[in-house]
Subunit: 307 residues, 2 copies
């Protein structure tokens, strides 16, 4: 299989000729955020105008992000600060997904959740009625290998949620490892496994995949992944928007998360080259994830449709 | 295969009846350290007397440890502080292995080595004539995701060595990731991949396998492993001691590192249950690494041989 040459699987370059067919057959556009809407705190050119046009034509918009550092509320705030009106319930973040996973699986309220990650996860846990601990607060703690000191952990932790954590340290790694190895039945939940991401405009940084791999390395357990490419969040999108997945188009910059998520859920797919994936990665023979369409950036939709 | 039941692969419990056969056919005993000689900073019962007896009977002793936090010099010092006379050249640590790997592969002297790990690696690199950076010093640095700041890294880094690092942080993860992803031909060397280890007497802690997995997660590259179970160090042991491997017995507490290392090198093998492996793990049907002998602790050799 090859996204460049095989007629049956080839990805089409989006163009003024084929954009109308995609546009007319889709009722909702699902956007990834990092590398699609923005890079770090900077909007990608033409995004606001494109989203505005899509809304004006009656398309539903949803934002599905693997970045777990923010809650839905914090994402809505970020959109507003960038001049884009998006409501909380149009946002589906992996921090929300982690909390919803516990909720739909009847995670006992009396159990606690240890977080290797940032505030977004803790806020979503609290909103869902769960008790989180760890997170940013434990970023200041140290765990040194001193003789005769026992590293204590809370035996009532029933789940460890691991996401992107710029305050990762040995204390948290030991805490999470002890919970998973020693608390009977303790769940190991990964918000996502992105290797790297455009956390800042200028470069890529280790993503949640780095922290998740660390805990997988120390516990030798496989995580439950709730973010993309897992389609766990799709049930929530469908409940909210009542649109069949074949009428949705997933727009993202990552093959192994966004495009795989869209394809697994039965959505149309559009890869944008404004984030982590280059055209040569897409067309490399080793790549087996072929989006239906690809283009340089989101605003090409606006440009190709014309006035 | 099963270490308990299959006659051809079954591991024998060491006993007064079979210890003599092993003892007489072996000229050198190779010991792992953590979980075999000591736990954290505490000697395991009977170790000094057993080592003394082995030496008095003309057996050569070597210590092969995956713990990279110390150099050979620092290990010799630790042995001495615990009342055991061991010379530097009887010690083969994964910190030494990392430096020797670069040496035998003619790593250019003008290139630098970034270290995610502790002082032992930096000291061995320096002794071998290489320039290391990172390590403990970078444990105090922070890398926060601020817009418009570019995280700079040294383009002359040609290898990243990853070992156990109790000062792991996002700064080091980003630094190592950038070197491996952006410096052409940059090597990714793992001292070892132990999931956990008895870094303190009272409990296990995440091992180098945790940090190595993190960098594997962010770079999506496979490391070159120089510690056990890789037999890379065996050439150095053979050069030093001129003993055929079939006359050596590897004594260790880990199936996936010590026993696999011994078996891969053609050594006799003895598992001790004083460290990470329990008898039920050894005899679990999912375990496929069966040592020739197993016993509770090193001093059983002394006890079973009798006066």
């Amino acid at each position: 299989m090859n996204c460049k040459t095989e007629a049956t699987t080839a990805s089409q370059l989006l163009s003024p000729q084929n954009v109308r067919d995609l546009f007319d057959s889709v009722d909702a556009f699902l956007f990834d955020c990092d590398g699609v809407i923005w890079k770090g705190d900077k909007l990608i050119d033409g995004v606001p105008q494109t989203l505005e046009m899509l809304r004006s034509k009656g398309k539903k918009l949803m934002f599905v992000t693997n970045n777990s550092t923010k809650s839905r509320r914090q994402y809505a705030k970020k959109f507003h600060s960038l001049g884009i009106a998006v409501s909380e319930d149009e946002i589906f973040s992996s921090s929300f997904a982690a909390a919803m996973f516990l909720k739909v699986n009847d995670f006992p309220r009396e159990k606690k959740v240890y977080v290797i990650g940032e505030d977004g996860i803790l806020e979503e846990l609290e909103l869902a009625g769960f008790t989180g601990l760890g997170g940013t607060e434990d970023g200041k703690k140290t765990a040194q290998l001193k003789p005769d000191t026992l590293f204590e952990h809370d035996k009532s932790v029933g789940a460890v949620v691991v996401g992107l954590d710029q305050y990762i340290n040995y204390y948290k790694l030991q805490y999470g490892t002890l919970c998973i190895r020693e608390n009977p039945g303790c769940l190991f939940i990964a918000t996502n496994r992105d290797a790297v991401g455009h956390m800042t405009e200028l470069q890529e940084w280790p993503g949640a995949g780095c922290m998740v791999a660390a805990i997988r390395g120390s516990t030798q357990k496989e995580p439950i992944v709730v973010g993309k490419p897992s389609t766990f969040l799709m049930d929530f999108l469908l409940q909210k928007f009542h649109i069949t997945t074949s009428k949705m188009c997933m727009v993202g910059d990552r093959l192994d998360t966004d495009i795989l998520f869209g394809q697994s859920a039965g959505c149309r797919t559009l890869l944008v080259l404004s984030g982590v994936t280059t055209q040569s990665t897409l067309q490399d023979p080793s790549n087996h994830v072929c989006p239906e369409y690809y283009t340089s950036k989101v605003s090409d939709i606006l440009e190709f449709l014309g006035p």
